[in-house]
Amino acid sequence: MATADNLIQVIDLKKYYNHGAIKALDGITVDIRKGDVMVVIGPSGSGKSTFLRSLNLMEMPTGGAILFDEVDITKKKVRNEAGKMVKLDIDKHRQKMGMVFQHFNLFPHMTILGNMTLAPIQVKHMPKAEAEEKARKLLDRVGLADRADAYPIQLSGGQKQRVAIVRALMMEPEVMLFDEPTSALDPEMVGEVLDVMKELAQEGMTMVVVTHEMGFAREVGNRVLFMADGRLLEQGTPADIFEHPQHPRLKDFLSKVL
């Protein structure tokens, strides 16, 4: 059952398309604990992105449950503290889950500062000055202090993704979800983004990372999930997965990517 350090419990999560003909997720059960750096690997089409996007309901699952802080966020209605059934406010839960996308998805009509302060100001009602100060501090941490007033189009891919990460951090999430954060980057920019993620992991941030960067999985991850055909085929520490793979699909996959 739920223990105190279980942040997200995924129970038998299913996502079907075309009346079950396509099973993007076919019964995934996994616990994400506070401080976990969980790396999800697998061949393309294995459902790892769908899994990640289900965690904050960018995709609505067909079945199963996702308990976030012990609340099932896949339900339309939940029981509140007073024991009454109330409509689930998914926006509230999404605030606690930062997400970083493959294609950055910065808002092109706003400056970097505007991108970062929009949600804190509008959702958390943080005063503008306070939000900007906080944004500048975060930008400084990722080495982009001088780009605060630039527009996204003026930044390189690596810079954009670093901004996307600190934009998500502005909301002080309890968990960060990374959906192939380096897949759209030129090779020489991958390192700068991974460095930021590594630093974040060392600070104790709970992270779920879908990636093809096996080096990152090995070095930074404390748990690795291997998915194929919408199923979770193997999980363990990086050492288990990379040094002693058990499942033939995993062995086959590793022989191709390593």
């Binding site: 294609h103 949600a119 509008q122 003026q154």
Partner: protein
């Protein structure tokens, strides 16, 4: 037919009528744009709504949703979107003149909606002006709604996802992320529609609105001149439409700031 300086001089004796006509055309266009835009927003939202009251028909006994077949097709029926679509298609497929006459002669008939014969703002006859505005707005709203819908759908889905993942609600995402980008995309098309409204408002002289075209008719009747009043009114329409498109082009350039390299 000749063109002469004295002809223009005679025409200019009707300057007061042209002035009032021009103001009338400006008011006509302005109210039409405002009303039409509001109608267009409503229509666009209706067409993009996700209201499917017959959804339960597609539910199988074991709780799954049917994807194919007649029941699935019926279950996707959205009455709100259907009404808006029918409206837009009918408006786009019938002549503006017919719509204007239906509004003026049928809807604003004495027995249906009886407008008092009052003069507002000094020279606008309400019982002619209002039907004119309503007819023009009903027409342009249909066209504008298509432009708005296309603009909203042109914004990358990743933008919405990013906004929602930060905890912004559906309305906030629309307001801060989708609409600003959509408006930027559709501004040229909207400018075009605004210019069209100014020009099309000329048609309302057929129901007796004292706009620029009515001034032309008066000047032609009083002076027996044909060409000069028409040239004057063409110039005046140009003076209205050209700055309108230029002003919107200016805003468009300003909004492109984020795209500069």
């Amino acid at each position: 037919m000749s063109i002469s300086v004295s002809g223009f001089e005679k025409t200019f004796q009707y300057a007061q009528m042209f002035k009032e006509g021009m103001l009338c055309t400006v008011y006509l266009s302005l109210f039409t744009v405002i009303l039409g835009f509001m109608l267009a927003l409503v229509l666009a939202v209706m067409r993009m709504s996700n209201f499917r009251p017959l959804r339960f028909l597609a539910m199988t006994p074991d709780g799954h949703m049917r994807e194919e077949g007649f029941l699935a097709f019926v279950s996707r029926f959205n009455p709100i979107s259907f009404v808006a679509t029918v409206y837009v298609e009918v408006i786009r497929a019938t002549p503006m003149l017919v719509q204007l006459f239906i509004v003026y002669q049928v809807v604003f008939d004495k027995d249906v909606i009886n407008l008092p014969s009052v003069t507002v703002l000094g020279f606008l006859k309400l019982n002619r002006f209002l039907p004119g505005v309503v007819a023009l707005a009903l027409n342009s709203g249909a066209y504008l709604s298509e432009i708005i819908r296309a603009g909203i759908q042109s914004v990358d889905g990743g933008q919405t996802e990013a906004a929602r993942s930060l905890g912004l609600g559906q309305g906030q995402t629309m307001r801060f992320i989708v609409l600003p980008q959509a408006i930027k995309n559709i501004l040229p098309a909207i400018a075009n529609e605004f210019v069209t409204i100014i020009k099309e408002s000329a048609i309302t002289y057929t129901i007796g609105v004292a706009d620029l075209m009515a001034a032309v008719k008066a000047a032609q009747a009083g002076t027996f001149l044909v060409l000069e009043p028409l040239l004057v009114v063409a110039a005046l329409y140009f003076c209205l439409t050209f700055p309108t498109s230029k002003i919107i082009a200016y805003f468009e350039r300003r909004m492109r700031r984020g795209d500069r390299r």
